[in-house]
């Protein structure tokens, strides 16, 4: 079986910083659960001195998870991304754009069957805002877009014996508070994910023997 590939964006790692769940750093759980790969740009971004950045361990893990492109990045950008993101000059959204290339190449080269594209950039993944990441994954069925909130739910589902409901609720609030956006949208987002967490918890309570 080809493992699921998780392609991680810088902001999702920054939003998970300093949060521990089930006795481990939340960001590091990614490497325990998935094969993680990132583009060069992400390695550059996570090391970038700024007010908040991922822990040293996460930075190191990112460096070790660098995706080696088999195709020239310019060629991938031109053929794959140009129609979704016409202006490829400059550095804007470069991390996400190159991660999209990682995702596509991973499927095309038969290294992975599906991809989880982890990013907390709300505008570019929003269907209503016609975000370019949304449109890419809507057109190319190569995987799913997750935010760090989805990842917390997944971890809760997988590690329910070590990861308590209260701890998961706190982690959702912590990450959501960092994702910002308009207050009302942030409220709706937290309510949505809290309700999902409750539903998962109720289901798990009925399936304790599994």
């Amino acid at each position: 079986m080809k493992p699921v590939l998780c392609v991680v964006d810088t902001n999702s790692l920054i939003h998970m910083r300093d949060i521990r769940v089930a006795r481990k750093e939340l960001g590091l759980w990614l490497w325990r659960e998935f094969t993680v790969k990132v583009s060069d740009k992400i390695i550059e971004e996570v090391r970038n001195p700024r007010r908040h950045r991922p822990s040293y361990d996460v930075q190191r893990k990112c460096t070790e998870s660098n995706w080696r492109f088999q195709n020239q990045i310019d060629k991938l950008e031109g053929a794959f991304l140009q129609s979704f993101y016409p202006n490829l000059d400059g550095d804007k959204n470069k991390g996400e754009l190159h991660n999209c290339c990682v995702a596509l190449e991973a499927i095309l080269t038969n290294k992975h069957h599906q991809v989880i594209f982890l990013t907390n950039e709300l505008n570019i993944t929003d269907e209503k805002k016609n975000g370019f990441i949304y449109r890419i994954f809507d057109t190319f069925p190569i995987g799913r877009i997750w935010s760090s909130l989805h990842f917390i739910l997944y971890l809760f589902l997988r590690h329910r014996r070590e990861f308590s409901f209260a701890e998961a609720k706190n982690a959702l609030r912590d990450v959501n508070s960092r994702m910002r956006g308009e207050a009302v949208s942030a409220q709706e987002r937290l309510i949505t994910f809290n309700n999902k967490l409750k539903q998962i918890n109720q289901t798990l309570l009925q399936l304790q023997n599994i």
């Binding site: 912590d174 207050a183 009302v184 937290l190 309510i191 809290n194």
Partner: protein, 393 residues
């Protein structure tokens, strides 16, 4: 552009369509929105006839009028006369801190430094309340509400100490903390260091405004209203900050079981389930809510009434209109209806924005010639929707 807006030519003294809440709260007026006004009046009437503490959740969309209500009802003269005849009402308005570093500390400092308080006023309030009490009586009363002998002593000193040197030490003691040497000079064992202490100090100051009398006699107390605006920003707090603030608010509510009204203004997209409110405010607070007011969007007739009342308030229009002009002037009635009808969100802020933009457009077009021109349906149809809904200051 602003200079070209000659409000006189519209028989107005100025722009009635503010987008942001006025800086000068004394001039805040209430226009239309009769159901909301009635709801608030009922809450104040309950407060005038019962000692019980109230916790009121004011919820609704952005621009729905929550901040405006806090400014308007924060003025004692705007309360129903049957309320102010029975009891003195003090109002304090604060906003939830924007900075996410240490919100409970910021909330505390914002409260003490509030425009209606400030340390000089706090000292005066404490000093007034201890007048006529012995040290032992005052310390006992303070201890009861503050839950700490040291805080009670600090309150007593702040209200009674007349040496300037010690008074000069007490202000930093309350705001930022003192050195060990200064604490020794004051005879207080420790600083206000815990979040719980800060909320107790807030409760203590509010209790001093209410009065220290142990009875529940309304005539012996004032009603204190604390309005906290922009509660929706709690969503930006981490779980630790969120817990600290919601537990702090619960602490204040529980320490003030009588003569206290807490208004929590919170923007919400639409009414939610009980569980959702718990997610947004925390169980500690949600369990204590006694009343809830929903600032719904206005119906068309309510919007018309709102604009009509607003522009004809004596602050904006103090002379009768020339014969033949509608009370909605500079808008023709049907044109105003058109303006408010297809608004995406019919909130006071969005109605104000549209009306202001339509007038602005008309001034720009040199459409007005005093008393001879009007914004009619034909003119409204000429204005692009983007121009009508443009953000203005």
């Amino acid at each position: 552009m602003r200079d070209q807006m000659n409000w006189d030519s519209l028989f107005l003294n100025g722009n009635p369509f503010d987008i942001s809440p006025p800086m000068d709260s004394e001039n805040v007026i209430w226009a239309g929105m009769t159901k909301l006004e009635q709801h608030f009046n009922e809450i104040f009437q309950q407060a005038a006839f019962s000692s019980a503490t109230q916790v009121v959740l004011n919820r609704g969309p952005y621009g729905g009028g929550k901040t405006h209500a806090s400014l308007y009802f924060g003025i004692e003269d705007n309360l129903p006369p049957e309320v102010t005849k029975r009891t003195r009402v003090y109002s304090i308005n604060i906003r939830l801190p924007k900075e996410v570093g240490n919100p409970s500390h910021d909330f505390y400092v914002d409260f003490l430094e509030n425009e209606k308080l400030g340390m000089t006023r706090v000292q005066e309030i404490i000093s007034n309340v201890v007048t006529g009490l012995s040290e032992a009586e005052a310390l006992q009363s303070f201890h009861k509400v503050l839950g700490s002998e040291e805080l009670a002593r600090a309150f007593w000193l702040f209200g009674t100490e007349d040496t300037p040197e010690k008074q000069a030490l007490l202000r930093p003691y309350f705001l930022e903390g003192c050195t060990r040497t200064d604490l020794k000079k004051l005879g207080i064992a420790r600083n206000i260091s815990k979040a719980q202490d800060r909320f107790r100090v807030i409760a203590g100051v509010l209790q001093c405004l209410i009065g220290l009398d142990a009875s529940r006699d309304i005539s012996q107390h004032s009603r204190v209203c604390l309005w906290i605006d922009e509660m929706e920003d709690m969503i930006y707090f981490t779980s630790a900050q969120f817990r600290m603030l919601s537990q702090g608010l619960r602490e204040i509510i529980d320490l003030l079981p009588n003569f206290f009204t807490l208004f929590l203004n919170m923007s919400l997209a639409e009414p939610k389930e009980y569980d959702d409110f718990e997610t947004l405010l925390g169980r500690a607070v949600i369990d204590r809510i006694t009343n809830s007011i929903y600032f719904s969007e206005l119906e068309i007739d309510e919007s018309m009434q709102y604009v009509n009342k607003l522009i004809n308030n004596p602050i904006y229009r103090d002379k009768p209109l020339p014969k033949g002009l509608p009370r909605t002037y500079p808008f023709e009635v049907k044109a105003l209806e058109m303006l408010v009808e297809d608004l995406e969100k019919r909130t006071p802020r969005d109605i104000n924005k549209r009306c202001h933009n339509a007038i602005n457009h008309a001034f720009h077009d040199i459409h007005f010639e005093a008393g001879k021109s009007i914004i009619d349906q034909k003119y409204v149809m000429k204005i692009e929707k983007n121009d009508l809904d443009r953000e203005t200051n």
